[in-house]
């Protein structure tokens, strides 16, 4: 199993995930550093990502869009805060509006990735933190948790009886 541990902290809105790969650190780094590799895993197959700008330097930016089955496009961006090839990357991850500009209404997360050699392969530690609770709640409201929210709604209705 690739993902070795997951920790979720509801107080600090932090997800910490550890994954182990058999490939060497340099190779795993390329999954992040090469935009052509990145677009093969960032978006789900039904929403493939196309990276336009990809500047992994401090202060640099990454922009991409994902294309849905109906041809609809969803844009996103990263703002790089620090980078230490081939072992560490920190960035803010956000959504873009229709014009490709960062959408302030949408949630951003701060992501930190570290790669270390581990048992002849690579251990990837990823920490992702919702930057504000308001934005995080908006994500929930947006219906991205539709299935679950609906069930919770039905459940509330049951309890209200």
């Amino acid at each position: 199993m690739t993902v070795t541990s997951v920790d979720k902290d509801v107080d600090t809105l932090t997800l910490t995930l550890v994954a182990d790969f058999t490939a060497p650190v340099e190779r795993v780094w390329r999954l992040w550093a090469d935009p052509r590799q990145l677009e093969r895993w960032w978006g789900p197959p039904s929403y493939p990502a196309t990276f336009e700008e990809h500047d992994l330097t401090p202060g640099g930016g990454v922009t991409y869009y994902m294309t849905g089955p109906e041809g609809e496009k969803f844009g996103g961006w990263w703002r790089i805060s620090s980078v230490t090839p081939p072992t560490a990357l920190e960035f803010t991850d956000g959504f873009s509006d229709r014009d490709g500009a960062p959408d302030p209404e949408m949630p951003t997360t701060s992501v930190r990735v570290t790669l270390t050699e581990h048992d002849g392969g690579t251990r990837m530690e990823l920490r992702s933190v919702f930057d504000t609770r308001e934005q995080m709640e908006r994500l929930a409201e947006m219906g991205m948790v539709e299935g679950l929210s609906q069930s919770v709604g039905q459940m509330d209705a049951l309890l209200a009886d």
Binding site: T2, V3, V6, K8, D9, V10, L13, T14, L15, L17, A19, F21, T22, A23, R27, V28, L31, Q37, R40, W41, W42, G43, P44, P45, Y47, M66, F74, G76, D93, G94, F95, T109, M124, L126, S128, F130, R133, M136, E137, L139, A140, M144, V145, G147, L148, S149, S151, V152, M155, L158, L159
Partner: protein, 135 residues
């Protein structure tokens, strides 16, 4: 950006919710706790069953994320989970599903390298893993 692979995890969460709610005693415990926190012993006194049995019901509710249990002195207090916490948990579950799916796809790509040097490449590996069918 989080629009990924939530189906499986959510389905499990929903299963736990419905299982928790499928029992009349547990629904009653929830109703009582909505009005304010209650100790397990107070709850146990309200039902014609053992303390251990009531505690078991509380555990099921706790696993479904419907209540939290906190030890205070010799008492265990049960309260319903506030909406804010529930929403935070949902958002983090989302984020987890998205990253798990991405890690699966990363593994798929790395495995493809290995395939290229040792034998034929297995096609469409990432196409199957992202549906989360392996969990």
């Amino acid at each position: 950006m989080v629009v990924d692979g939530m189906a499986d995890e959510s389905a499990e969460t929903v299963d736990r919710l419905f299982h928790a709610l499928a029992d009349a005693t547990r629904r009653d415990i929830l109703r009582r706790c909505v009005r304010g926190e209650l100790s397990v012993s107070r709850l146990a006194a309200a039902y014609p069953m053992s303390f251990a049995a009531v505690q078991k019901h509380v555990t099921v509710l706790e696993r479904a994320g419907l209540v939290t249990k906190e030890r205070r002195g010799r008492e265990q207090l049960v309260r319903t989970e506030p909406d804010a916490v529930r929403r935070a948990r949902q958002a983090l579950d989302e984020l987890e599903s998205a990253w798990r799916a991405r890690v699966d796809r990363m593994s798929g790509l790395l495995a493809r390298d290995a395939g290229a040097t040792t034998g034929p490449v297995t096609p469409a590996r990432d196409g199957t893993t992202t549906e989360g069918t392996d969990r």
